[in-house]
Structure formats: C-alpha cells, structure tokens
Point group: C2
Chain length 162, copies 2
C-alpha cells in the first residue's frame, strides 16, 4: 500500500475525535496529497462529496489481530458485542476507514473538506468521488444494530464513556 | 494488509466483468471469508447492504504506478482524460475497490450478495455494513463527469470498446 496523502484536522487525540463524518459535518479538514499525485485530481473539483479511505492502524507490518467481537463505541452505554465486520469501528483485520465528506475546495494538492472523523495525521490510501448512482442502495435498507441507536452529533469515544 | 476473504463470481475475465455493482444489481456473488474471521460477522445478517473493499491489483509488492490521467471506461465512447482520483476505475495508486452490494444471506463464513462488479477470485480486504446515516450525503450532490454520462446496465470494459 502506498500512502497517498495525510489528513490534517484539529483533533490530536483519538478518544476525543468525533465518530463519523456525518455526525460532525461542519468541522473542516484538509487532505495534503503527496505532490506526485497532483495530476490525479484533475476533475475532482466538479464533485460535491468524496470518499476518503484511510489507514487507521499502526504502520507496523504485522500488528496483532484485533478481537473479533467488540462493543462498538455507539453501544458503550448499553453494551452489546458484535462481530467487528458488522461495525464501523477502526479496530478491524485491516484498519481501513471509510469517510464520506463534503468537498469544499481543491487547491493544488490541498483538498479541503467538511465532515471530520479522523485524528490529525491520519494516512490517506485512496480517495474516490461520491457517485449517487453507485453509492445509494436500491430498495429497502436495514441497518442492523444502528437502527436501534439514537445518534447524537459530535460524539467521541471519550464522550460515550469507557 | 491481510486478505480476509475471496470473492466468487461467474466472471473470469476482467474485460467482460460488469462495471459497478449498481449497474449489475441482480447478479449473485459469494464472499468466502477466511475461517479465522467467522466470529467477526456476528450481527451482519441484520443489514440489507454492505460495502466490499477489494484489492484489485496484482499482489506483487511494488507494481509500477498507474497513469495519473486516464479515460474512464464509461467515457470510452467520447474520450475525456480525468485524474484517476476523480474516477472510480481500478488502476489507482492503491487499487482498492469499493462496491455497494445487497446482502442476501450469511451462512457461516459464506456471505451471499447481489450486485457484482468483480472478477472471480478478487481479494477482499474489508467489509463494512452500509449505514444510511453515515453513507448518504446531506444537501445537494454533484457528481462531476458522471452527471454527463448515461448509464446502461450490464456494461463491461469490452462492451464499451477499446
């Protein structure tokens, strides 16, 4: 995997960093793209929203595998263990993050966005334009345990308790 | 990166494999999850849709970097070069695929789904539940060059011409 950029936000501690971009939509961040990829963003400014795919884990080669069942942050107040692949948490077999953000400006290799759920310095490994036709489910949608949770904006791991 | 599973589909040649799950919604595939992750899918069957994050490139350590500007498959008929990070094409700095699929059944480590845009044998590196609250943009959406294209279902790289 190549690091293609670094994400700058105002959050320095993981436990105090908001969970999910959609729950923290007005906070601003910047992707500092590696200069070698300057030409790769041609046309990106015509999109309103982007997917940021991030690497949330340590950069060591072979970190220990995470627990396969975990209590998601959003269920800390009424714990239920779930398989990690049925959660959006960061401690996964491959710690890839998927964040939908609103693009505000492309300035050379600086990609400005709104909707922050990553700590300052997070590694970016891919960036894709949001495409309604591809990224919206057709038909009825069921969201499992998320359908049982009320979402407050600006929640962080710390605010949800131990 | 860990390979967490392998995707089985009826498509054996890349050029004849449909582009985008949403354009090939009724075709069926199966994720064969590595047995070590059996417990990681607890609760997944309560979701209707999933994100499959795939590794679309060669598995060699250091493949040559792709061209930074490319003509997307969907624009082959009226070519326009775009930055690869403004496309959803597979030849990216990190060849990660993002496919939204409809979950039809979880049977142990076999995850059955509808909506196929991957060749048989594709490597799965992450799987996340689709969560409407996180994965739908708020406000107006602009999809750049995709807004200028008519999508036919079942298109493949081969059907779109050289």
């Amino acid at each position: 995997m190549r690091l293609i950029g670094t994400i700058r936000t105002r959050h320095t501690a993981f436990e105090d960093t908001p969970i999910q971009s959609a729950l923290n939509p007005d906070d601003r961040g910047i992707v500092e793209l590696d200069p070698r990829y300057r030409d790769a963003v041609d046309g990106l400014d015509e999109f309103s929203h982007l997917w940021l795919i991030t690497w949330l884990g340590p950069l060591e080669d072979d970190p220990p595998p995470p627990s396969l069942r975990q209590v998601p942050f959003l269920l800390r107040r009424r714990p239920r263990q779930l398989g990690i692949l049925a959660t959006r948490g960061p401690r996964r077999p491959n710690p890839l993050g998927l964040s939908l953000v609103r693009l505000t400006r492309v300035d050379g290799t600086e990609i400005h966005f709104a909707g922050v759920d990553m700590v300052d310095g997070t590694a970016l490994v891919d960036l894709k334009p949001y495409v309604s036709r591809f990224d919206q489910p057709a038909g009825a949608v069921r969201c499992g345990w998320f359908d049982t949770v009320t979402f407050d904006e600006h929640v962080t791991p710390a605010s949800l308790g131990p």
